[in-house]
Amino acid sequence: MASGKSPHAPSWLWVLAPFMASAALLPSYPVIGSGNGLTWSAPWVPGLGFQYALRLDGLSFLFAMLISGIGLLIFIYARTYMAGEPGRVRFFSWLTVFMASMLGLVLSDDVLLLFVCWELTSVSSYFLIGHRHREEGSRAAAHQALMVTGIGGLALLCGLLILSSITGTTRLSEMAGAPGLLGNPLTPAAVVLILAGCCTKSAQWPFHFWLPNAMAAPTPVSAYLHSSTMVKAGVYLALRCHPILSGAPGWGCALAWLGAATALAGTVSALRERDMKRQLAYLTVGALGTLMLLIGLGSEKALQAVVVYLVAHALYKGSLFMLVGGVDHATGTRDASELGGLRKVMPITAGCAMAAAVSLAGAPPSMGFIGKESLLGVVWPATPDRLYALVAYLSGTIMAALALWVALRPFWGPTGKASAKAHESAWSLLCGPVVLSVGSILPALVPGSVEGLLSAAASSALGRSTHVHLSLWHGWGPPLWIGLAALATGWALYGIARRKDAPVLRADFPGPGPEALYTACMKALPEAAARVTLCTQADRLRDAIRTFVVVLTLAVGGTLAVRGPWPALGSIAAHPHEIWICVLIIVTAIAAIRLAERFAIVAVLGATGLGVTMIFVLYGAPDLAMTQFAVETLTVILLALVLHRFSMLETGRSSSGQRAVDLFVASCLGVLMWALASVALHGRQGLSASSQYFSETSLVSAHGRNIVNVIIVDFRGIDTMGEITVLAVAGIGVYALLKARLPKDGQR
């Protein structure tokens, strides 16, 4: 921008990120197209076998191109869409983080790296949904999305770790065909956990409810994360795991059933909505279900259909979302029944919407048509799968009806009440939809342009080479009839909606669903936690300590009594001065609990410390003795300094019965610790292996004769580093406590 003052000027820089990602990916197409993969790795946690392992094969390449290509369009779109909104830098930062982590997700070959990227996409999605954080609805939707996908992510982590422990590798590319995978008793658990991850992320029934709610996000986010890319992460992972787990019991069957249920639930729910974004979101749920259904069927043709359907969906849905956002921007509403006649003022928008809707409806000539025909071509011929053909027919009907609703209702007919002040969107808001809408139609007319890309992706998912053949004409047959029938009934359904000029179904159809259950759980969880806390954790500190002491005594004492060894007594014979030192400690410790005067207690505590010091002196620990002596001196001064500020030592005393109980409990612990100390003292004679090693190498390799000091500053120096850090923190804590005065009763 020449003026340099434009508010958009810096946001051009953000567009560089997806542009460079696409530019970096494109040159590797010839390698990918020839059926090979590129790999790169660097060590991460070598001890556990984790690596930063990246792998670019056909499937990754297809996803990466969708992510960076659509990302580029979205960034251009968002530049204008978000102009004037507060927090744009935050918005674009998270959008970039999302794009990077999504690319990482589809490129990673290491399960842990994949999981980290997976979680990063959830986190960035959380911040992007909640971008308008002043709105209660945004915050709630962001939280819900994070909880559902986050819990799924944890399940996924468990599943992936089980998988890698069974196969003995953390590389996804090495897992396929690992011996013993299919017969392992843990494999079903891994299947369930990985499915849980995929289904939460890709909004499969019954976890689908977060996706429509996520429409609280700004439209670029809905178009990018919640239709084209992030929600496809589950589909991606299912495809990625397909060569590994397709033989496992339950994998295909569960995916197919869940997918079918989702396809139905999603599309039917879309009929309840007024808001076009929410309608589209439910249709996304339906499309994701169809994809999962196809992966579950798992045949070569099914996987070919998956990639076609997936690309078609990403293109038309991204376009439609951006167009709805543009209409929203221009008119201030996303309810189609308030609009009408917009084609006169927004001709380009109307044209793009029509093109994308053709693909959404599955009408020729479009990618959507080819996708739907391939879907029907998979489910119809095999007799046991005919039920799925019914699902495909029903969801196709609803998609066609809503495609008409979204593409025709706002743009045709009389001018609606909200259309009055409408204007055509700026070119930056239109370039994304134009590209994607053209992309929905053009490859269907020129099939050769994308067949290589799609074939490579399908080959990776299948685990062997296959060729995707795109064709608008599949010949006469039931798939074509069903497709046309769906279009016809869709048209009829649109007619009903048009006459009502309202959602076809009532908003409360069909009553409470999984979301109500989720809400109830979220409400019950803190209550249950509070109840458990009240039950298990005593309200008073000393009750908690008493519980702790009793449990410790019973558990450790019980183990010692049952398993042994019994404590050896050792010799009572000793020098008189040794006995006197022990007696001194015992007497002063007992005096400390008997005395009431605080300075008397300080004095006897000092004496106890000196007794301990003398034990150190007697048993070859001059370093300890010196340190203990210095600390003891400082402790007495410290206690005296602080205690003289307390005007009384004890305001309340426990009842004498309570004190007797405490004394008994404490004495039992004392007996236990005596036993433990005796066992420890008489258990092993001689030095431990590590002490022996330190003694022998102290002078030779660490140049010190004082072994204790050498251990502190050299052998275990990192420990000491941590300990002096703790010291420093404690000092700062004291400083902060003394400096930061709490306001007391509003004074000060």
Partner: protein, 137 residues
């Protein structure tokens, strides 16, 4: 009670205690001593001063904020740990050198001893932070 005796004793003892603490620090690698006890004794010297006179006096005598001592100590310890990394060895590997001193004979110096100096400073700084803040509060 006039603290005259205490003050006189403190004035005499403080340099001696400091000297002793450094003596303990330096010989720690070979004989009993080391950074922990050295730092404690050095702190004692100033605590004594703070009791005999007042906190302001002790701060003046110290002429450096005890929190700065703590921070410096952590930095010294950390940099001694990092020195070996710059030489391409693992973190905290001891690096030793020999020096020939007049009167004292050969002296071995190594990063663990610098690390001990860091410990000394942290201990001294922390103890003094606690005491001077408490007394001055």
């Amino acid at each position: 009670m006039s603290p005259l005796i205490l003050r006189t004793a403190s004035d005499l003892l403080r340099p001696l205690l400091l000297l002793f603490s450094i003596f303990l620090l330096l010989r720690g690698h070979q004989e009993p001593g080391g950074g922990f006890v050295g730092g404690l004794i050095a702190a004692c010297a100033y605590v004594l001063h703070a009791i005999a006179y007042d906190v302001a006096g002790a701060r003046r005598a110290l002429s450096i904020d005890p929190k700065t001592l703590t921070g410096t100590g952590l930095a010294v310890a950390l940099s001694s740990a990092l020195l070996s990394v710059t030489l391409g060895k693992d973190l905290m590997t001891g690096v030793w050198g020999k020096a020939e001193l007049p009167f004292f004979g050969p002296l071995e110096l190594g990063t663990p001893m610098i690390f001990d100096v860091g410990v000394y400073l942290v201990v001294m700084g922390t103890v003094l932070t606690v005491f001077l803040e408490l007394r001055g509060d």
